[in-house]
Symmetry: C2
Subunit: 478 residues, 2 copies
């Protein structure tokens, strides 16, 4: 029978076998998909699919693997990838409650515990995240690279930007007069003076300036519109420049440097990056394209007043790291540091705690940070009033989110409660390092960035990454 | 060639085709698995796989569908079901931040918003969850069934249990003396008197009792061990029984009834159950085997002092609803109400707010609830001091979790911040209803219960469900 012949032919058999193998491949693809999906939805105690840290294996450079499937309908592999480019979900660890401990698998044959320190911000502590040797090596590398002042004194800064502002005295007064009572209270002046030139203003400074400038003739500690109108726009800055500013009067009194952590970097820095990936469970591609490691040295007397590592997000806000791929002009910019991982590199003889002044407060109100001349953001004076104080301990890491979830698996609003600072070092030196994970709250822009950097990397080699170039000159932050 | 013959034989072709079909089936099974996995991991704004509420369709009675895969390894369908019986994950909605609003799909062609009221407890408000007609109908059904006092006055209660307690005066004193200073402060006595017989004790009551019993001869408001030893164990209760207790002096001053919501129940009650399933995204089988609807009426002057809807969980704690399947004796029992959904059925002319005294407090400390004679749990006096007050509004639902997550997708520790009460009704009448979703913190026990009740249901018919039987006699709660 010719029919039977065709069924039994060798070519027909090959077709059937190809058919079978396509199915086997499909099954394997689905198994992989299920594996990634369930891995991401899994409890933080399970080991991920990442290479063990310390091996220096490069993570895949392709498009983002979706942490959660974007649609309940089954999709083809191709569809999956296309949707993943736009809709990948980010893992976010659970805090459960203050004091909760969960195991994490970071280093082979070693158990680490993630202890919840606060829910607002979502903040964890991991003891022995780095070994003593790793800490020492990072300090050594930072010294080799060389550190520079984190902030320079304002006498060196041009005041042109402020001089050129085309805004009337009444308008400024109204902006400052938060409660609209026609008077500027101490806290109203204090809240806004940080937008100046990096000098930290205390209530005593204000009184000194009022007296020096004869700005408050009736001496009631309040500025009326009339009194305010008499002042030169740059009166505060001008006064301070003439009087001279000490380093201890700056917002930030430290030195720092940046250590490149990408492919080809020192083994120890690669290890730390991989460990951070396992800790945060964020997509390796995003972490790999984030800022380099910042190493900070606080000498005795050093401090960093309370601040947010990354700013609020408005409709027109763009991120430093994705602005190259963003279209059009961007009036507002911030660093979009979704996560901060802070490492304590040494034990400090005195002071140097990390303060979270409003952690787990019931409410957040910028103005209520300053009460009766007590500025809770002031880490030289008021660390003892902070809701949470973390003592530096060599090898310990802190890990927190600077942004909330958007409820859809991506970056949402700024978490204002993440306000934190470095208390004054009363004795000895303090060394820390910061790893920030930069994610654009606009998922599409982040994905465009990933594609662009991935392409750039492949063409130009790892040492020329855009991120490093962007941050190479960002030594001074005001 | 005989070899070629065997390859081309009809039976070999059949074998290959069976092989192909097995793969097709496997692919379909995996697709189904992915479908369920991704559906459960989906954002709360998406419509689930449940039948639209109002159609009265019965949800599946089979084993729990796992909301999250229990293992990153791919598993066969059979394995999945076996594991699901033990390890199904529960959905938990995201609060994001106070004031956050998210859309929920509860009723066809209608949009509801879930507004986050607090994170501790995780508490949401849904306006217009019930229509005016639905509210009226529920009240009507409750009246038809008939309401009874939620709590009876203690003169009717046997005191034998307390009399029979074999515990020395010193031991009781030490238990009460929280700060171990050898004296019983007012707050130490107040905190523990609720374990008595349902009478709410105020600082004035304590002073009245001290005077009436001449218990505090030195009149310093503190009880020493010597003074305490002079008291009869039941002194407080005996004194109050002789003096007589008003309804307003009880912990709870209301009437209530239970409305069966299972299969065959009134259409409106089925609708509400289905809507609650869509709201909470919890497994339908669990919700269907939870307590019936409790309808509560507060007359003018009615109240319910602040309490937890369900107690803390210790190793030996068992749940009312699963104790039939639990092995061995159970010294501690609680209702294991994972979720409370509270419906306001009418507008109240005056008072009757729901108070959450410590919502989003930075810390929870039972003793600090009582400060300087002010007991924050007292909803007749101190509702104005509560962190959160919700005004009753017809049709609005509140939804909160009485337990935290365990971090593994199941029920964890009690959320102490879920403390809440009903403020005194100053004018008119207040009608509310409560839906509780009972889940055993021991997942295995919950699964055994599901299987047992499912079997029972199939054999005996829906009206004889164990849960209804358990709760039928639970009219009086102390």
């Amino acid at each position: 029978m010719s029919q039977k012949d065709s069924v039994c032919s060798r070519s027909y058999f090959v077709v059937v076998m190809v058919f079978v193998h396509v199915y086997i491949l499909n099954v394997m693809a689905l198994l992989l998909y299920v594996y990634y999906t369930s891995e991401s939805a899994h409890s933080p105690t399970d080991s991920g699919a990442l290479p063990p840290s310390g091996q220096g294996a490069a993570p895949p450079q392709g498009p983002l693997v979706p942490s959660q499937p974007p649609s309940p309908e089954p999709v083809s592999q191709q569809q999956q990838q296309q949707q993943a480019m736009v809709l990948g979900r980010l893992r976010r660890l659970e805090g459960i409650k203050v004091g909760h401990k969960q195991k994490v698998d970071l280093v082979p044959n070693k158990i680490h515990y993630l202890k919840t320190l606060s829910l607002k911000p979502l903040l964890f502590e991991i003891a022995n995240f780095l070994s003593e040797e790793e800490c020492k090596l990072v300090i050594h590398l930072a010294k080799l690279k060389g550190l520079q002042e984190s902030q320079i004194t304002p006498s060196d800064i041009q005041q042109e930007a402020i001089d050129e502002m085309d805004i009337s005295k009444e308008e400024i007064f109204n902006l400052l007069d938060y409660n609209q009572d026609g008077q500027l209270q101490m806290k109203e002046v204090l809240t806004h003076t940080r937008f100046g030139d990096g000098v930290w203003i205390t209530p005593e400074n204000i009184r000194e300036i009022y007296t020096g400038l004869e700005a408050d003739p009736d001496g009631n500690g309040l500025l009326s519109l009339e009194e305010f109108k008499q002042l030169n726009t740059n009166a505060f800055q001008t006064y301070l420049r003439q009087r001279g500013v000490q380093k201890s009067e700056l917002v930030r009194n430290s030195k720092h440097t940046w250590l490149y952590q990408g492919e080809g970097a020192h083994q120890i820095l690669r290890t730390i990056r991989h460990r951070v990936i396992r800790l945060t469970k964020l997509p390796p591609e995003i972490v790999e394209h984030s800022e380099p490691l910042q190493v900070v040295k606080y000498d005795q007397g050093g401090h960093y007043h309370a601040h947010h590592d990354s700013g609020p997000i408005y409709a027109e806000t763009s991120c430093f790291h994705t602005k190259l791929v963003a279209n059009g002009s961007t009036p507002l910019e911030t660093s979009c540091r979704y996560v901060t991982v802070l490492f304590y590199l040494n034990n400090v003889s005195g002071g140097g705690e990390t303060a979270f002044p409003v952690a787990d407060n019931r409410t957040y109100d910028e103005l209520s940070l300053i009460q009766n001349d007590v500025d809770l953001r002031d880490t030289r004076r008021n660390c003892d009033r902070a809701n949470l104080l973390v003592k530096p301990l060599q090898g310990t890491a802190l890990f927190w989110y600077n942004y909330l979830s958007d409820g859809e698996g991506w970056v949402g609003e700024q978490d204002e409660y993440s306000l934190h600072g470095g208390c004054v070092v009363t004795k000895g030196t303090k060394w820390i390092a910061n790893n920030w994970i930069n994610i654009d709250p606009d998922a599409q822009r982040q994905n465009q960035f990933q594609q662009a950097v991935s392409k750039y990397t492949n063409e130009e080699g790892p040492a020329e990454w855009a991120v490093d170039n962007i941050y190479k000159d960002l030594h001074v932050e005001l």
